[in-house]
């Protein structure tokens, strides 16, 4: 009674979980960091740095949204 361990699928599950779980958490955190810095830098009247922080926040938000949509599309494509 040979037992087949689905090594490839398990490994892909681990990689996908780490990339998606840690990746989205980090990207979203960068978004919050950007939003927080934007507020602080705006108060400090440093418009250029504030704009850069806002751009980082917006980009992080877009990547998060794209990752969620991508994940659902991948799920429903099988």
């Amino acid at each position: 009674m040979a037992v087949v361990v689905e090594t490839k699928e398990l490994l892909e599950t681990v990689i996908a979980s780490v990339v998606a779980g840690v990746g989205i958490t980090v990207v979203f955190s960068v978004g919050i960091w950007g939003a927080a810095r934007f507020a602080d830098l705006s108060r400090a009247e440093r418009p250029l740095a504030a704009a850069a922080a806002a751009a980082a926040a917006a980009l992080a938000g877009l990547i998060t949204a794209a990752a969620v949509v991508f994940g659902v599309v991948i799920m429903s494509s099988k």
Partner: protein, 365 residues
């Protein structure tokens, strides 16, 4: 005629199991969002119910595993599936009654394996599928969720640790709308598919569907509806017990825990691994807790989960085998399943009476 009656009983029992699965798991899915203040209970539960329903439609990989890779469909009859479901429901009720954190998913697979063995011997079990697609992922997934959440929260604190707490908390509360939604979607897709798989197995056994058939649309819709209604119904009980049962964590931890749980469940679902969503979500919560302070985690809960995990498969299998044995006494007709259903309803009434005398029930999750 008799086989059609049995099939109707099997489908009704499977949908009842699906309902109780949603009912049990509401706490897991919405607790984090409620405890961090990311969403009001009514909103969190309504949102989770809707996404449970939607989640059931995005994949059928897990349903295929349950229907084709755990037991040999050629030796399975609708009565075997029925007895397996009784094993799962009975074990869920027993553990719920004693407040043990058992897994509905493991109970379902254990019940079906036990009844198949009782009906056709150990050759009925597809060991490759059971070990490779159920047992090994069952061990790996909660540990993976724990590590992903732990690494995630460690990085979060490094990135936002020096920012204003109010802004950070507000941001992660908004984030929890996404992570909580993804968790509910993941829960719906993995758990509802187990019911779809069992009903499909019964339909194949009855000759209604061909071997290796996909679940028909009505099975998907019925399973999605049952788990969503269960989640919605279970939620109102959780609202009353929220204050005492939910572990307190900050919004960033909630986001990491939910994100890790959703990522692990969705990735596993894609490859057709039928997980215990309860264990994965608890793994994520413990990882997020340990990432901040190891002593903040109630490690005794982890011990209870391991104990329940070790007990659930064999116990549900034993009850499933016994249910099949009782059913078989009355022959191949519908009398056996009808009598066992009546006995099960008596057990349900007894358990609820016992719990109501003891006070508020503890979600067995």
């Amino acid at each position: 005629m008799s086989s059609d009656v049995i099939l109707v009983i099997v489908v009704a029992t499977a949908l009842a199991f699906d309902f109780t699965n949603g009912f049990h798991d509401t706490a897991n899915v919405v607790a984090t969002s409620i405890s961090t203040g990311a969403a009001r209970p009514q909103v969190a539960i309504g949102f989770a119910s809707l996404l449970n329903f939607a989640g059931a439609f995005i994949s059928i990989s897990v349903a295929a595993t349950v229907a084709n890779d755990v037991v040999d469909a050629a030796v399975v009859t609708p009565t075997v599936v029925f007895a397996g479901l009784i094993g799962a429901i009975a074990w869920n009720l027993i553990t719920w009654s004693f407040g043990l954190p058992s897994s509905s998913s493991h109970a379902l697979i254990g019940g079906v394996v036990g009844s198949a063995v009782a009906a056709a011997g150990f050759n009925a079990v597809l060991a490759d599928g059971l070990v490779g697609k159920v047992l090994i992922p069952a061990v790996i997934a909660p540990i993976l969720a724990l590590l992903v959440a732990g690494i995630g929260i460690g990085l979060v604190y490094r990135i936002v640790g020096k920012q204003r707490p109010g802004t950070v908390t507000r941001g992660f509360r908004y984030g929890q709308i996404i992570s909580g939604g993804m968790l509910a979607l993941a829960h719906g897709t993995n758990d509802a598919q187990k019911t779809m798989g069992v009903i499909t197995l019964a339909l194949v056994a009855n000759g209604t569907l061909g071997a290796n058939a996909d679940p028909p649309l009505w099975v998907i819709v019925a399973s999605a509806t049952a788990i969503a209604l269960g989640t919605y119904s279970g939620g109102w009980r959780i609202i009353r017990t929220t204050g005492t049962r939910i572990i307190k964590m900050d919004a960033a931890q909630g986001f990491s825990a939910q994100g890790a749980g959703a990522a692990v469940i969705l990735a596993s679902t894609h490859f057709g691994f039928p997980l215990s969503t309860t264990h994965v979500i608890n793994g994520g919560v413990m990882g997020a807790g340990a990432g901040k302070r190891v002593s903040a985690v109630r490690w005794g809960v982890a011990g209870n989960i391991v104990t329940a995990w070790l007990l659930t498969l064999p116990a549900a299998a034993a009850i499933g085998a016994a249910a099949y044995g009782i059913t078989a006494i009355f022959g191949d007709g519908a009398l056996g399943p009808i009598l066992v259903t009546l006995m099960s309803l008596s057990l349900i009434a007894a358990v609820f009476t016992r719990r109501s005398r003891q006070g508020a029930p503890v979600p067995a999750s």
